[in-house]
Amino acid sequence: MSADLYHEAILAEARRSEGAGRLDRPDAVVERDNPLCGDRIRIEARIEEGRVRVLRHTTRGCLLTRAAASLLAREAPGRTPAELGRLADDLARWLAGGGAPPAPSLALFAPVRTVASRHDCVLLPFRAAAGLATPGDDGVPPRAR
């Protein structure tokens, strides 16, 4: 059963690792952890007129996180950080059981829907990207540090 998680499309996407790397003078940078395992993603983006033009990521994570980061790099260009935030929310909702995949490319995560504890692995890159709106934000309110 959970072997389905590791079907060929996910393995291939993780291996492809689209957008891996850094940018020269990014307009926005965000880092975010998965507190479960210490996984971390760093996202750098070139932003023009409020929209992501290029997105690069440095991802230390499991196959699901890496596949998701790769797909993010493909999905992000042309969207605003706010739109990426909505994409993350829609993705979370779909994983939790509601509706349709929020983008055709993301349908390959269908087997993850039954494994709630891995949803955060898939969501990490998208949630991080939503933070591009407020550079430097890592999702933890300042007073709580």
Binding site: M1, D33, P35, L36, A116, S117, R118, D138, R143, A144
Partner: protein
Amino acid sequence: MSLDVAAIRRDFPIFAAQPPPFHYLDSAATAQICRPAAEALLRFETEARANVKRGVYRLADAATRAFEEARARVARLLGGVDPREVVFTSGTTLGLNLAAHTLAPRLGPGRRVLVSVLEHHSNLVPWQLVCARTGAELVPIPATGDGRLDQAALEARLDRRTAVVAVTHASNVTGAVTDVARVAAATRAVGAVLVVDGAQRIPHGPVDVRALGCDLYAFSGHKMFGATGAGVLWGRGELLAELPPFLGGGEMIARVTFAASRFADPPHRFEAGTPPIGPVLALGAAAAWMTALDWEAVQAHERALTRRLLDGLAALPEVRVLGPADPEARIGVVAFTLEPHHPHDVCQLLDVRGVCTRGGHHCAQPLMAHFGVEASVRASLALYNDETDVDALLEGLAFVRSQLG
């Protein structure tokens, strides 16, 4: 529609287990557990146990999902709030201590915490301790003669120095129900935080915490037909996001190094360590069971019983009831004295008749002092009680007098 009490009672295993006569009138101390809660507890502990929030294998994943479903169920009981506003604790006491500790940075010399004299020690001692530590002033809000919160006196004491107001939603002695919405409006007007102890109110029906307008709301699973060991602190999301952590440990962090730690978002920031998973699942099951009830019928039933009890007590000249006489203004928690007898002696003899009541100060010594007594007898009703329970108590009091003269 009237309540089918026999059907309710069948949902509580205790009534089949305890030989009659068994008149359980101590639900304010701990209510009995309903079958769905007991089943959720037992199933998890014996057949499906795994730790939550960390494991990816099926058993662990299912435990995490069940845990978050319990959170969602509680959120529904509280008027459909965001589940991320539901913090699981070990009980009301921990929830109120969490409130006091995390609000401590807002306290200090010149700042005030207003606490009503109706409070259970759980909603007083934490504020005493935190005021002693920070130099803030602890200001009592007085009670009326019949043991309700004195709203006018509260409003007279509220000003910009006030950082926190802490009141009970229903007293565990007088049964008086506080008009929290009115307290909330006055509290908000001075920019203070309103902390409500819901331990006694929640077993008597769902509470729409957003409509009440409070900021933090604490209660215990074991008093609302769940298991012992778990409770809830609900908090307004905007406030929770600002509060620092209380307990340190696993599951509440984003990243830890010796130099510094970053903390997780609510609710996890406030849930350090392995939670009381079984008791939380029982709490969730109890919340779902409660949500499905016809509360108009339940409340009419409880009100009728309360009236029967108050009327019966009023007929006994030796009895003094501590609390409002009007069953509309209160829940069925009824404390009284039976002169000249000591409450413990009264309770002990009631037990001979199978009537379970509680004697003592009910962890509310300032309120006892307000009434000029040290202790009282308390009979507390829940939805599974019926007329025979009330009548057994009243007959039991006659028996007590026959024994003690």
